[in-house]
């Protein structure tokens, strides 16, 4: 189970104060950590536990469902151990920023740009933080829950008229 996972044990040993939650669902382990420890946790996982591939980096918007609005999600993979681990950390709307992971994996560059573009979370220390999918002059962040599906200043689609 999740508690016996080697990586979770090591994390608990090293970052006892920063581990907020450990969940296992359908065989996948998710560890939630405090935001100020995120870079230390990620580099520890890469350097000491061989999680060498950053498979994915994304965010989830929990508007109105959780106190802290955004959740950053880092999906790590260890090619030597064929093992996945998901690390999450909460980001509040009032302090909508987090240190960049580009110092640990180059992969994070575009993935963080995408999160910045679509969620509006700022990555401190990112070398090239620009919008990536939307145009440079776009207003708003489309994947936020309060961004309308049909786009700004348009009536919602009400189905076919005929």
């Amino acid at each position: 189970m999740a508690e016996n996972n080697r990586a979770v044990l090591k994390l608990k040993e090293t970052f006892a104060a920063s581990i907020i939650d450990v969940v296992e669902f359908r065989g996948e382990v998710t560890v939630t950590v405090a935001k100020d420890a995120i870079i230390d946790v990620l580099s520890f996982l890469k350097l000491s536990l061989q999680y060498n591939l950053l498979t994915d980096l994304t965010a989830v918007d929990y508007l109105g469902k959780k106190e802290e609005r955004f959740m950053m999600v880092y999906l790590l993979y260890s090619i030597p151990n064929k093992d996945r681990l998901r690390i999450k950390t909460a980001v509040t709307e009032s302090e909508c920023k987090i240190p960049t992971a580009t110092t640990i994996w180059k992969t994070a560059n575009w993935l963080e740009r995408e999160v910045f573009d679509l969620f509006g979370i700022t990555f401190e220390g990112h070398p090239d933080l620009r919008r990536i999918l939307m145009t440079d002059d776009w207003v708003g962040h489309p994947l936020r829950k309060d961004y309308p599906l049909q786009g700004p200043d348009r009536e919602p689609y009400k189905g076919r008229l005929s």
Partner: protein, 390 residues
Amino acid sequence: MATTETMTLNMGPQHPSTHGVLRLVLELDGEVVVKVTPHIGYLHRGIEKLSEYRTYHQILPLTDRLDYLAPMSNNLGYILAVEKLMDVEVPERAETIRIIMAELTRIESHLVWIACHALDIGAMTVFIYAFRERETVMEIYELISGARMTSNFFRVGGLSQDVPDEFVKKVSDFIDVMPGYLDQYEGLLTTNPIWLKRTVGNGVISAEDAIDIGLTGPALRGSGVDWDLRRDNPYCGYEKYQFKVPTGDKCDTFDRYKVRLVEMREACKIVRQGLDKLKPGPVLADSPQVCYPPKESVYNSIEGLIHHFKIASEGFAAPEGEVYQGVEAPKGELGFYIVSDGGNKPERLRIRPPSFVNLQAIEQMSVGSMIADLVAVIGTLDIVLGEIDR
């Protein structure tokens, strides 16, 4: 006094060798590339946003439109993620047909890759041949799903319908002749001096750099990293199949070319094993809360009709939780990350596109080389803009 300065050149988004609507802003010193800045997003349709407003069954047709050269691989990745979330057991026949189709899709995608890649760097004959073979795969698609590209054939819990009787013969005939065609391509390219001049030593990226920048799939294996999700984290019953995972050692475009050719041969072998395993049986799981009822009962009974109506309009409620499913798509690791809040629509659907992450390596692989070699790098990365922009 004479001065030299670099020139900025715009390449794309309408350019035949950018494989879609990729725009590159190049900084050139003569013909040597100093800096590459990719601009993407011209094909952004907001598939992740749209998915938050659709039931799990309704999202499936959107996934065809990600990597439109390999629709069934996208369908497979999404369907497996939802099945993991719902904990549905899929019948063996459905799994086998899925694997056959996923591997045919791999061949199809690699055929487009070899065709365009060779055309980009001056070998036109291969293009014509590869598209001829691709046509057979398209016909198989049409035979089973009615569509050549937007297949939408898999369903949560199995398949939309069983395959017709001529399916086995058609697939079997195709994989009988395919290795011969691959020999033909190799005859045209592998020892061709022009091909070798353009690919050997081009776009070199070391294994450490490749992992650091997140390359996956054939691009990573070309750099000598022996890692394939089908073998290392098997899904959909791949553990029952025997196949080799090819790797390169020179980390260049030529090695990635060889890796993909061997992958096509291995795919033929997997399809043959799949055909041998194919036994009659159901193609849809027996879980009425999740699956559509068989068409028979929809047309002939009121219960079936109501059932169909409920699934089509309301869908099904997924348990609260989050899952990630990665599959070895032809271009690399394609992943679907679903966050469910217990409702009938995902709270968040994240698509991890292999091409998006792989394209990031373009700068590292092309700076310092000639502009014509940059075109070879775009070809060898095997990108599809539908997937990059989503």
